[in-house]
């Protein structure tokens, strides 16, 4: 190859080899770029299975009847490599196969609601409810929050949800 003169630069740049080199670079960049893009965006667009929202409580038979029963459910959040579990408390009222489930989170400001002699009572600011969750008194603006439940093959499952506090209507925080 002869020593290129200055005027040869431009044609050199546009040479065939230059184009192929560009193509190779584009190919590598595209493969790495697409893979990395999918990789980085992976958790942002992942669907949650509906099943994940339902928590197992226990076999229905194991819940005593005609008295408020406190149970906990484990809510799990799949985030990357971990399934982050945390516990939430619920109150269950059972009459045969008729079941009502309340969130034990106070609709006032979120303390844990206790059972009392004549119903339910929140220790923090003294909100009170009847045995079936109707509002009796105290600062709370609404009844205890009921949770959706279903019974599958004899096992009680609950869909635990969070609700906005200190308002008169029950409203899910999504």
């Amino acid at each position: 190859m002869s020593k290129p003169s200055n005027s040869a630069h431009v044609s050199d740049r546009r040479s065939f080899l230059g184009k192929i080199t560009g193509l190779i670079a584009a190919f590598v960049a595209a493969v790495v770029g697409v893979a990395t893009g999918k990789y980085a965006l992976y958790p942002a667009f992942r669907k949650m299975s509906e099943e994940q929202n339902w928590q197992v409580v226990c076999p229905l038979e194991d819940i005593p009847e005609h008295e408020p029963v406190k149970r906990s459910v484990v809510i799990s959040q799949d985030a990357g490599w971990g399934r982050f579990n945390s516990q939430r408390l619920i109150w269950i009222l059972r009459d045969g196969s008729r079941v009502v489930v309340f969130s034990a989170t106070c609709p006032h400001l979120g303390c844990t609601v206790n059972a009392a002699s004549n119903g339910f009572m929140c220790p923090c600011h003294g909100s009170a409810w009847t045995g079936d969750g109707q509002r009796l008194g105290g600062p709370t603006l609404r009844a205890l929050d009921t949770l959706d439940h279903r019974i599958e093959e004899g096992v009680l499952k609950v869909k635990y949800e969070f609700f906005k506090q200190s308002i008169a209507e029950k409203e899910i925080i999504s």
Binding site: T36, K38, Y42, Q87
Partner: protein, 592 residues
Amino acid sequence: MWKKLYSWLDERTGVEGLIRKINDEPIRGGARWSYVFGSGILLLLVLQFFTGIFLTMYYAPTSDHAHASVAFIQKAVSGGALLRGLHYYGSSAIIILAILHFAQTFLFGAYKERRELLWISGLLMLLLVLAFGFTGYLLPWTQEAYFGTKVGTSIMGEVPAGGPLMQRIMLGGREITTLTLSRFFTLHVWLLPLLLILLAGSHVAFFRRSGPAGPYHHRDDARTELFYPRQVFLDALVFLLIFIVLIVLSLNLKAPLGQQADPTTDYLARPPWYFLPLFELLKYFPGNMTLVPAVVLPGIAFIVLAVLPFFDRKEERHPLRRPVATVLMLLGLFGSGGLVILSKYQDGMNPDLRAKIESQRREELAYLDAPFQPEEIGRSLPIEVPMVQVEGNMRNPVLKIYFANCANCHGRDASGGALGPSLIRLASSRHLSRDFLLKYISGHVREPSPDSMPRFQQLSLDQRGELADWLLNLRSPDQLSEPGETAAQSSLPSVPKPAAAPSQGPKKAAEIPRAPEAFLKTCAFCHGNDAGGNIGPSLVGITAKPERSPEDLLKLLDDSRAYGLKDPMPANFPKLSVDDKKAIVDWLSKLQ
């Protein structure tokens, strides 16, 4: 339009001049295939930086989550297997290219003619690349990583005088812990890359200053060619080839990933291939001479190589006219290669080693192929646990074990219970080996959910073996009914039965007073109706143990954490009255 933009940019940045400067590097003797190594390494390093940065996006550098996070990248994230594979195999490719680059520079005498600094910075980078390999090896926190690092750092501890201190600084203590992982992470991801950028930058700058040495025969010295386009093209072509090989390896072979590190196992560790020559040499020196092959020989070799350009001042570059240098280098290269082969050969010839290595590899492959399971963080059992009791009156010994230990959670017909998943076809569909099940049941391999299933260490190896065999063949819930029994008989009552007579207590039922109601309600779910152990340990004879006197037990029930007990043992039992607790402790102290 583009031209306008370009010239606008150029006026302000001088980008055109920069590109010219890079592209118009004159190459003495013209473009050649044999010049591709340096650029190949540089491009691979860029790829390592890129993939490495994105790997940290999901990686958790702590010993309790590192493995799960790497498994997540490898198995779950889209593109994760590719990025990790590129990073993993890319590191090997760099080392191969670096060795070739080094050997070529040496053989062709290209370190001569005022290229001392270029040569030394290259040597340092060779070391740096090995340091990258060493620190990166631990990060997935697998068996291989843990034990490999253990051996590597123990060698460091052998160095007289400063060795043990250096080892402790390196490990961040006496043992490999999460701190070691953090240190290696910091080195691998921050310090070494910074150093590498510095060295690589100097290397390229020195190279540009001295210019390429050209062919050793000087025949084409009169000819020069610019870097662009022919050499650039050759470099790109070679890189493309390497890139495609890396992709094929990543997607087909996949970057290996074994089970989580477990210091209690007898894992047979082998270093990565580039450390095998050292490893093999170690075998030929007695323990008190470990230093010679591990530190002294490589040290001497490095120093000799580093000072070489200062002493070797002859202009001759032809390898055949420098017989001593050429023979030494070829000896080194083929000797190292031979040691690698020898090491593989020895492992293959020893039947015990071979069996062990093969079974480890099978387990690793099985793990790699198993679907990703997230690690359970936090307690996965409800605090207010429902009582499910199953009577264990079975003739089939496996079912006896099953009902005594597993049925509470996995259900009466093993198709999943309130707290545990279905076991039907579980082992076969996830390709779990018998070995794995044995360890899993006892808790020695606790992946992926270390907290959700208790460790059944009270089961003997035989019992676990029976369970494992049974699980491997468990295809339908019907296998849980005993022969001759009707389905109706075998479906056990779902309502908790009043405490049945203890089935396996150390004494006959008649001699043991019945457990108090409070115990049956609160403790029996885990410790068994007769306190003989179930999910929780046996409490029989507990009061004879240190720190477990009846008085201690009473306090323990109020604050079990103060006694070192962990989840799933509750911290305290607010529902038990003082009398309840006394009754329980009284009863426990009678069980001897």
